[in-house]
């Protein structure tokens, strides 16, 4: 009798893939408690571990001892309706209580940092924009700021304000996506439809300006790709009139509603010290009461010339994170009104011929323009040797870009500091001690985008 062979993955019939080793990730998964080190076991306490392993082993008190057969390790994902992308979480449960949790990522790893080394600086925007696909303009902005720092060029004022306009619009659309998915994850399915209704309006504006609904490649080193079209003020004003009453509707539907509050208040609590130790930024950090927002504390673009409040929570729970994002939409609307007033005239990109391509009409007239266009689009512009890091405040936290250049037209090393990648480390702390039924609410409130987690 021949031994049964492992079913191949490309045969056409519906043979059930019974071999679990095909999808198991070995050492990356959550291991059972009798074989993990003392340091791993101490994670269960949700504490920020600052003692050595020997001390941890010595100090595991008997009261914390949980027999092996009282716990169960379950797997959630990577295909799951509520994990915001391909996130896999393994949880150790004692009954309904979550003891340890471990997020396993890498299911969307695209080799974007490798791709960044292959593409030129002008093409780099198309790559980074697909990392955080809910707020792509922020990734493009971080990349462009870093390249401009290496090039040592100054971007014209109009380009700076256009960038602010577009990124704040993108912040609104990203937070609306959060509200929609958060609502749906918690069962408020109508919120999904409302969120998408508003988001479509913002996407309509973004498409009018950039040409695409998503992954725009609009913010490029040197400025922006094209000027704002005629009638943009009316479009923005229409949006700014339409959205606030709808936000008030959401307040009625969600914020004041007892069921929503019961499900989110006191769930997934984290404190500032843990957040700081884990490198967490963005709404998660602000929910704990710590007012840190790069737009105000380390301003970039022209954020020091606009007035806005940094929205801060009190309890560090899921409800605070939801309320912060809702109010950040309101703050962004306030910023947009100011941008409308203060938008200067001028160039929308720096006029350095070596960096920005010439206007298309001039290509017919001038040989030099044709040559510059050709060189920039085929070979790319060269960036002096050096290294730089620039960061922006994306809807998820600090989004940074570290580029090492070697004097050629391609980055030598491009690394994006994705806020979701770092923020995901708070998941075990948020879930510890909570119920399994709250796990979805917790993940949703962290609002990870797996594209920038896995890159």
């Amino acid at each position: 009798m021949t031994t049964p062979t492992t079913p191949t993955t490309t045969d056409g019939d519906t043979h059930l893939t019974e071999d679990p080793s095909l999808t198991s990730e070995g050492g990356q998964e959550l291991a059972s408690r009798d074989i993990v080190s003392a340091v791993e076991r101490m994670r269960e306490k949700g504490a920020v571990l600052r003692i050595g392993e020997a001390e941890a082993a010595a100090s595991a008190p008997a009261a914390d001892y949980v027999p092996e057969d009282e716990t169960m390790i379950i797997n959630m994902g990577p295909q799951h309706p509520s994990t915001h992308g391909v996130l896999r979480i393994m949880m150790e449960l004692q009954g309904e209580t979550v003891l340890r949790a471990k997020p396993i990522v890498g299911y969307l790893h695209t080799g974007m940092e490798w791709t960044g080394e292959e593409l030129t600086y002008l093409q780099g925007g198309t790559n980074v924009t697909r990392m955080d696909y809910a707020s792509p303009l922020f990734s493009e902005l971080a990349f462009s700021l870093t390249v401009e720092k290496l090039l040592d060029v100054e971007v014209p004022q109009r380009a700076v304000w256009i960038r602010m306009l577009m990124t704040e619009m993108n912040r609104i659309s990203s937070h609306l996506l959060f509200m929609a998915t958060n609502g749906m994850d918690l069962g408020a399915v109508s919120m999904m439809l409302y969120g998408w209704r508003e988001r479509e309006e913002t996407l309509r504006f973004l498409e009018k300006v950039t040409g695409l609904r998503m992954n725009h490649n609009y913010i490029r080193p040197g400025g922006v790709a094209a000027d704002l079209p005629d009638g943009w003020r009316d479009d923005v004003l229409r949006l700014l009139d339409m959205i606030p009453p709808r936000l008030d509707e959401y307040d009625t539907l969600l914020t004041g509603q007892p069921i929503w509050r019961e499900r989110l208040q006191g769930v997934g609590v984290i404190d500032t010290e843990t957040c700081m130790a884990l490198g967490t930024t963005g709404p998660i950090l602000r929910a704990t009461g710590y007012a840190w927002d790069l737009r105000r504390d380390m301003p970039y673009l022209a954020y020091d010339q606009v007035d806005f409040d940094v929205v801060v929570g009190t309890y560090g729970d899921c409800f605070d994170r939801y309320a912060i994002r809702l109010n950040e939409i309101r703050e962004s609307i306030g910023i947009l009104y100011q941008v409308l007033d203060k938008m200067p005239k001028g160039d929308y990109r720096v006029q350095d011929k070596k960096v920005t391509p010439p206007p298309r009409a001039r290509i017919d007239e001038s040989m030099e323009a044709l040559i510059h266009h050709f060189k920039i689009f085929t070979e790319g512009f060269k960036v002096p040797e050096g290294e730089a890091y620039c960061a922006v405040e994306s809807p998820r936290g600090e989004l940074g870009c570290y580029i090492v250049s070697d004097g050629s037209a391609h980055p030598y090393r491009m690394h994006i500091r994705g806020p979701s990648f770092v923020n995901l480390q708070t998941l075990p702390h948020l879930m510890h001690g909570g119920l399994i039924a709250d796990a979805v609410a917790v993940i949703s409130s962290v609002d990870p985008i797996l594209g920038e987690v896995d890159r």
Partner: protein, 173 residues
Amino acid sequence: MSDTTDPVEPVPDPLPEMMHGVPVGWSHGQRVLHPSREQLTGLIKTLHDDGYHMCLDLTAVDYLTHPGRALPDGIEPERFEVVVTLLSHRERARLRLRVQVPGDELTVASLFDLHPGTEAMEREVFDMFGISFEGHPDLTRILMPEDWVGHPLRKDYDSGRIPVQFKGAPAGR
């Protein structure tokens, strides 16, 4: 008004060459420290006491095919560099640390004890470059499958591209 994120510190004159016993460089207005691998842990502790409480980012660079980079006197360029970015909320300033790691001794002390948030970042560096971190509680791959061979972001790693023909050519599959 330039739109950089780091406040451009007035570069002091004469340039201080050392800070906490470690050579200092400047890169586009950003102070960069160059500790050795042995100095790293002590420096991180000192900086933590100084107010650099948050480790924003930990990554690595493979300088194998780089033509040549500027380093302060006394620092020998090695094949790999581990780059750590710290943040001080009080001073609203970032600080970058660049640690040289030789290609034949790929270990660095882990920052996990003081900055637990480096756990995922160090795993990513291990996965992509093969640099091990001593003292890390769980040094496994994070982005690639567990049985993957090789470290993709190294410069001598095969790209894995497939040749793509132009439209109209018969598909190879």
